[in-house]
């Protein structure tokens, strides 16, 4: 489903296509309440998906299914930054603070995370 979502977003939106074409990163997503995950390998306009978490990930997002869907609903604001002050954004931020959303590699890869968020966002 995540692969289909990225494909649809990139096809429908030239800005997301631009982000997708520029992104080189290995992104792990682990859905904690179903104990399943994927690794998305972005390579300048190509995406390969692997079941499970593969080594050498740039960032790894660990959260419940509902939170993963909330990440897709983050709005994007000025300068392509995700908005964390509306209802969805506050929900995501509070889960991050409470440890219910964990992002390994966050601090050293904020630009990558923002780009991934923009590609995922359906808003």
């Amino acid at each position: 489903m995540l692969g289909g979502l990225i494909e649809a977003n990139v096809q429908a939106n030239p800005k997301k296509r631009q982000d997708f074409d520029q992104l080189v990163a290995r992104v792990g997503i682990w859905v904690t309440d179903i104990d399943e995950g994927v690794t998305l390998v972005f390579d300048s306009g190509h995406l390969t998906m692997h079941n499970g978490l593969e080594p050498r990930r740039t960032i790894t997002i660990r959260a419940e299914a509902e939170t993963v869907m909330s990440l897709s609903n983050l709005k994007i604001g000025l300068f392509g930054m995700p908005i964390y002050y509306d209802e969805v954004g506050r929900g995501v931020a509070s889960k991050l603070l409470l440890g219910r959303l964990k992002i390994d590699g966050l601090l050293s890869n904020i630009a990558t995370l923002n780009r991934v968020t923009r590609i995922f966002s359906v808003q």
Binding site: M1, G4, L5, A12, A65, M69, N73, V122
Partner: protein, 140 residues
């Protein structure tokens, strides 16, 4: 009184539950597409033929929800397909619909970004199914 799963009576009660739900009314604002649920046959569970549930949902209201053939449901803008047992799991809260879609247990056809935008609405729709007292054919 409990009604047979995925029967006309079940569809009518489901529609009532959707229209009673203030949560759905708020979360479904702006939705304007038809949704088809395909319930695939499982003869060993006493559900011998596939059925479709055709839902005409508009702007937070259920204008019509009716039982038809699987083919009727497949003509909708969004189609969610799963075997009878999976739908039973959803309607009895054993399986969360969002998790089911992420795991591929519920197969979704349609514009993914649109349905992801309405995650809350689809969650509330499945909540409405849990409020319909249901007779399950495999339990009779």
């Amino acid at each position: 009184m409990a009604v047979k799963a995925f029967s006309d009576e079940w569809a009518a009660q489901f529609k009532d539950e959707v229209n009673k739900s203030s949560a759905y009314k708020a979360a479904g604002k702006g939705w304007k597409w038809t949704v088809g649920l395909v319930v695939e046959a499982e003869p060993d569970k006493h559900f011998p033929e596939s059925r479709g549930l055709v839902m005409d949902l508009f702007d937070g209201d259920a204008r019509d929800i009716r039982v038809g053939s699987a083919g009727d449901a497949q003509k909708c803008d969004f189609v969610i397909t799963a075997p009878y047992t999976r739908w039973k799991q959803v309607a009895t809260k054993e399986l969360d619909a969002t998790k089911g879609m992420l795991q591929g247990k519920l197969k979704l056809k349609g514009d993914l970004p649109t349905i992801v935008r309405y995650t809350k609405a689809s969650h509330e729709l499945t909540e409405c199914t849990t409020r319909v007292p249901t007779q399950w054919p495999d339990e009779q």
